[in-house]
Symmetry: none
Subunit: 189 residues, 2 copies
């Protein structure tokens, strides 16, 4: 029984990382009480681990879904848009997490993969807003929580307001998904 009581430095720092990962909204004071050490110790720990202060952490959480979402002209995209040639192609990365998966099998639910593909397809279309008309998709192999999904979208044809986009998603070199979307553009003018 060595559950309670003070931890040594290494285990405290391990716990600290976990704790702040799970909940970044904790002050040094809270942490010092939780670990039964002084505030200064917590600050030394953060310094050694390279963890920023509370306000910085909150700003990061806020910025993640904001800065990127806003900067891409209001297009909410699932995953991180890392390359984009409007009207031609685009690439996004989605880091999957345990919350996206079935807890039993650790396999990522299909709609997350679909969402990444569809939102990327929309992002590459050179139009204010796009609606999905039709899509034809195939999941080639299961995705596990933690896998990093790399989606590549390519506009293959444009006919009036209809945009034909192909999206492929890979994990490393293995293709796990492919989808054909027909998107309908709506020009707000």
């Amino acid at each position: 029984m060595k559950k309670t009581g003070k931890l040594n430095k290494a285990s405290r720092q391990r716990k600290l990382l976990e704790l702040l990962e799970a909940d970044p909204f904790v002050t040094d004071e809270d942490l010092s009480e939780k670990f039964m050490v002084s505030i200064q110790t917590i600050r030394l720990d953060r310094l050694e681990l390279g963890i920023p202060e509370l306000r910085e952490r909150i700003k990061q959480v806020a910025g993640k879904n904001y800065q990127k979402v806003r900067s891409i002209v209001g297009t909410e995209i699932i995953g991180e848009l890392i390359d984009l040639s409007l009207g031609e192609r685009g690439i996004s990365i989605l880091q999957t997490t345990p919350e996206m998966a079935f807890s039993k099998t650790n396999i990522v639910r299909g709609h997350h993969i679909f969402s990444q593909a569809e939102s990327l397809a929309m992002a590459v279309i050179d139009a204010d807003v796009a609606l999905t008309g039709v899509s034809n998709i195939k999941y080639l192999s299961p995705v596990r929580a933690g896998d990093k999904l790399i989606a590549k979208a390519e506009v293959v044809r444009v006919r009036g307001n209809n945009h034909f986009v192909h999206v492929k998603i890979n994990i490393n070199q293995d293709q796990v998904f492919r989808g054909k979307f027909i998107l309908v553009a709506i020009n707000s003018k």
Copy 2:
């Protein structure tokens, strides 16, 4: 030409609201420079408009994203399951909200509709875990934020581990979506 120069109180406060709506990450100091008034004036304005301080604003943005991610990403079934005959059919209801929609057009993003359909399709399958193999879907008409989506799923054929499920989504009497899914069951035994 009255573009530049100081604004009067009313217009300044209108601008202030807009500005902070678009970008909440601005300090009073930044604002005081932008409007060419003292910091105290900005603070009086915020007080009158009921706008919280920078740190509080950031915290709100952070909290929103946190909740959003947890609630959208973490749910087993998208929508509310109101009827289910395992292996045969099921019905779910999804109340759409403005967050699910493009802010410009108020039209609900397709992947939310897809998610409702897919998760319902999975729920009706009489198996521990199911994966989507293929799907073929069509959005028939746009869904607006606030619309209540009623999804009906029906298992049309079972061949080994492959389950063929059709899903239709209606708003009142109008069909807005149809999808054919081939789900692959995995029995964990």
